[in-house]
């Protein structure tokens, strides 16, 4: 068989299944989603149309606008909080732990919770923060509270805490990866040149670790932005996030067109963030190179 024929056949065999799959199960669904967002609800179902009504509703109705802004805010604080906790952890692991065995163990220790069910990890915060929960009974038995307080649960703070808890491992991994790549002699050289340790950190280590921070921040932000489990479990009435609204459109409200439009809006926001962070990452890499 000739080279070109062999190569072409092999290529076709290797490419077809993934390409076909991606087309049918990713491209087509997004396309239909996009099309549906222009359709109109006609209770109890929906009909084809071409109108921007859904989008206008999202942009003007304070109900939807507020939810989107609230979700953005929560996602931001979750990412910030997770980053502030994850960075020192990763830093400690890379720069302060000498023995590779200990480092591996501590790394696995922070990643291991990812293998435990997400639903359950979010759920445990419900049990901890509730009025009949552990935090309250602990505070009461310690004498700090005289009766259980409902302030810990069913609000945005509870959601933020829960989501930070869930996403810390997601933050640690890319930051660890990027800190590990920094050649040791860079910080040594900096010290050798008489620069203090704080300034070395801010001028050498931190800038070089930006790609990892950006990667972790983006992933955490986008995934928090689209979460509907934490709001359901610990969010309470004012903790509704965009994903919950979308879910209800496909559930009881049976307003698939509106749900699709919301989903497209969410998709656009996430894509924008990914694109911006890509640019950031490339900037960071450019400096290093």
């Amino acid at each position: 068989m000739s080279t070109s024929r062999l190569v072409r056949l092999t290529r076709a065999a290797v490419l077809s299944p993934p390409l076909l799959w991606t087309f049918v199960f990713m491209f087509v669904p997004y396309a239909i989603l996009f099309v549906y967002s222009f359709w109109v609800q006609k209770y109890p179902t929906f009909v084809p149309d071409f109108q921007f009504g859904n989008y206008i509703q999202i942009a003007t109705d304070p109900q939807y606008l507020n939810v989107i802004l609230r979700t953005l805010k929560i996602a931001f604080f979750v990412s910030l909080g997770a980053a502030l906790i994850a960075y020192p952890y990763a830093y400690f692991l890379v720069f302060k732990v000498k023995r590779p065995g200990v480092r591996m163990a501590l790394y696995m220790a922070v990643v291991a919770p990812l293998w435990v069910s997400y639903l359950l990890r979010a759920y445990t915060w419900k049990t901890i923060l509730g009025t009949t929960g552990i935090l309250n009974s602990f505070l009461m038995s310690a004498g700090i509270l005289s009766e259980p307080s409902s302030v810990f649960l069913y609000n945005q703070t509870a959601m933020i805490v829960t989501l930070i808890y869930v996403f810390i491992p997601f933050m640690v991994m890319p930051i660890y990866a990027v800190l590990e790549k920094i050649p040791h002699n860079l910080t040594e050289a900096s010290g050798d040149l008489g620069v203090g340790r704080f300034r070395t950190f801010f001028k050498v280590t931190l800038p070089l670790s930006i790609p990892g921070i950006v990667a972790g921040f983006t992933m955490t932000f986008c995934l928090s932005f689209g979460d509907f489990i934490a709001p359901f479990l610990v969010g309470g009435p004012d903790g509704l996030m965009v994903a919950n609204v979308i879910a209800s459109q496909f559930g009881a409200s049976l307003n698939w067109p509106l749900g699709s439009a919301l989903a497209i809006v969410m998709l656009m926001i996430v894509l924008t963030i990914i694109t911006i962070s890509d640019r950031f990452e490339r900037l960071g890499q450019g400096k290093f190179a």
Binding site: V14, P18, T22, I32, S117, Y123, C222
Partner: protein, 275 residues
């Protein structure tokens, strides 16, 4: 003024304080991470239904209730079925996809790559909804099979990133040498390429399995009559807090620990001794 300019006695004290603060910080973080899990496990043995501190006693009552819960057991087996099938599917599609991205140039490669990797940062709800729309549009009923397809699609990103990263470290000259020595493309794949990416394939497979087993957003929209375990737990949660949930949770934690050990063992043998 830097620390290095202080007298040695002061330096040592400062170093100790620094070390201590680091250790306390790390301890707090790890405590924060594992506290909920510890609570979950502890209270699965709690004698009373309440979640107050301190615990009222130890019992295995909740585990016994689980064992006789046929719905739960069925959901568990459903999850295994879904996870195994989805993992197999995503490997069969994902490994060639990674090879294609590494070695082949074709029109639309950029779009293909972006599409496949999108689900990593894309909230599962969007994947779930878009596939729900697809199935409804073509008149396909929701079932465990639609869940499997949904998982396989969402997990492609996991397999592709892992295998692709590993492939980058396998020089293309290896495949060329194999063909030069008389092997066909298929022989080359099985005799040369696959053995060299084995660890990545296994690792990706295990990760995919775990993620599928615990998957919620995509499953939420694609489930038919049969529930997976997370869906069952979700529906129980809606009905209120019950200690059985703690028991299920503890069992899942135990299973996760076993899986972690298995994966470490499986990957350790093949690892490059230098690393």
């Amino acid at each position: 003024m830097t620390r290095a300019t202080l007298p040695p006695q002061r330096q040592r004290v400062l170093a100790r304080i620094e070390r201590l603060s680091w250790l306390v910080g790390i301890g707090l973080i790890l405590g924060f991470l594992y506290l909920p899990i510890a609570v979950l496990v502890a209270y699965s043995f709690n004698a009373s239904r309440s979640l107050t501190w301190p615990m009222s006693g130890l019992t295995l009552e909740w585990y016994q209730k689980l064992a006789s819960n046929s719905q739960l057991i069925e959901a568990f087996y459903n999850s295994i079925y879904v996870a195994v099938s989805a993992t197999a599917l995503t490997l069969i599609i994902g490994v060639p996809a990674a090879i294609a991205l590494d070695r082949i140039d074709f029109p639309g490669k950029g779009l293909f790559r972006k599409l496949i990797l999108l689900p990593i940062a894309l909230p599962g709800i969007i994947t779930g909804i878009s596939m729900l729309i697809l199935f409804r549009a073509i008149g396909f009923n929701l079932s465990l099979e639609t869940v499997i397809i949904g998982h396989a699609t969402a997990l492609l990103a996991v397999v592709v990133t892992q295998v692709y990263a590993r492939l980058q470290r396998v020089p293309a000259s290896l495949s060329e040498a194999s063909v030069d020595l008389g092997a066909s493309g298929l022989q080359t794949f099985f005799l040369v390429t696959l053995p060299n990416i084995r660890t990545a394939v296994i690792g990706a497979g295990m990760l995919a399995f775990t993620l599928s087993f615990d998957e919620i957003p995509v499953t939420f929209f694609l489930t038919g009559r049969d529930n997976t375990l997370p869906m069952y737990i979700w529906s129980t949660m809606r009905r209120g807090l019950t200690p059985e949930i703690n028991a299920i949770g503890t069992l899942i934690v135990a299973m996760s620990i076993v899986m972690i050990f298995v994966s470490v063992l499986l990957l350790r043998d093949k690892k490059n001794p230098r690393k």
